[in-house]
Assembly symmetry: C2
Homo-oligomer: 227 residues x 2
């Protein structure tokens, strides 16, 4: 330690960045970024939420690491992110791990917490607006409506975990209530095809929401067959 | 109009208050309450999110109406709330309709929007942290985890709409992934009994989360049979 320096203990704050617009970050989440952090390690989807604060953050000397892509263009591995969080916290840094949406919804936040816990690094979680709910709301779509839908179901459009896919969509087609498919654009044909094969009516009203809350948000409303 | 007064058009902003803690209101939601509103019409569950701002709001002359309960003790009807929102907006007031969690998740927000739309009153929706996601996150519980749960399902513990109840829980017991039951405390025995009768293992790990984010938040973790 340098003369007079306080041997401060480092910590990691997992902050949900919400859907992207910085006004939709929570008050606590904004405070962690703007007043508390020494370092922000951001997912690609979380970067728009702090874009407008670049100057303020730079004037405070906050380092921003875009963990969504490496300088060479390849993606960061989860292991590399874990190692960075632990190393910086052990240096005494206050690290904001800024994640798109909510850290605990399809965000691998719990995996990061488990790793930090095992490494003895103090951590906290600040929830954020998940796009699961915020994207429909911003498009004026309610997931529940009395007498129409009293439940909703959330799944991801990515295959993940080696599931066979089609069986999943057949099962999903029979769920009562509103269906929310996250990350559904890249495999859209597979999702809609699976739902139709699973017995969902081709007339089912659907909305495709891209880049929710951002200036170029796009909402496409169409029946399932036309999506 | 008084001399020099601008004939301002009224508007209603439906703001999601989040789970209760004022730090979990979004930045835009806080701005609407603290800088924009002439009047706040708050649900009971939304009041804690502005409790600490009472003095600031009073100094700005913001009127706060607790629409969760009337002076006489009886609850406000939805119709009375609709009439109030429309009347005040027509007087040129900027009205914040502050709703617990997110306005569009089991919050009747869409019904209010439809009524405002029909009355020709300008409106907007500011999403909020729904307790659907925020309550588990604040209790350190992830709804999804790779290899364990890749989907989650959200339903309400209240019977509503005259559904027969038991059939719903039998169906819910078979859903793959994590089950989130909102407003499940008052009918807890009915919910757990229905799930067990529906075939869900009594050993299924469960958490009961009450008053999420508030100082007296309570989390009970137990197997289904012991809840």
């Amino acid at each position: 330690m340098a003369d007079g320096a306080v041997n401060r203990q480092g910590m990691v704050s997992l902050v949900g960045a919400g859907p992207g617009d910085d006004g939709l970050l929570t008050a606590v989440g904004a405070e962690r970024c703007l007043e508390w952090a020494d370092l922000i390690v951001a997912d690609r989807l979380a970067l728009p939420a702090i874009e407008r604060w670049r100057v303020r953050l730079a004037s405070r000397g906050v380092e921003i690491i875009d963990a969504g892509k490496a300088p060479g263009g390849a993606g960061w591995t989860q292991q590399r992110i874990h190692a960075l969080l632990i190393a910086r916290a052990r240096e005494g840094k206050r690290v904001v791990r800024l994640k798109g949406g909510d850290p605990f919804i399809f965000g691998r936040g719990l995996e990061e917490v488990q790793v930090l816990e095992a490494a003895g690094v103090p951590w906290e979680v600040i929830p954020g607006l998940s796009s699961v709910l915020a994207a429909p709301a911003l498009a004026g779509i309610a997931l529940t409506l009395r007498g129409v839908a009293s439940a909703f179901h959330v799944l991801t459009g990515e295959t993940g975990d080696g599931g066979d896919g089609l069986a999943r969509w057949r099962e999903a087609a029979r769920l009562p209530g509103t269906l929310v498919v996250l990350m559904g654009v890249s495999g859209l044909a597979r999702v809609t095809g699976g739902l139709i094969q699973g017995g969902m009516s081709g007339d089912t009203p659907c909305a495709l929401i891209e880049r929710a809350s951002l200036p170029d948000q796009r909402v496409t409303v169409a029946p399932l067959t036309a999506l």
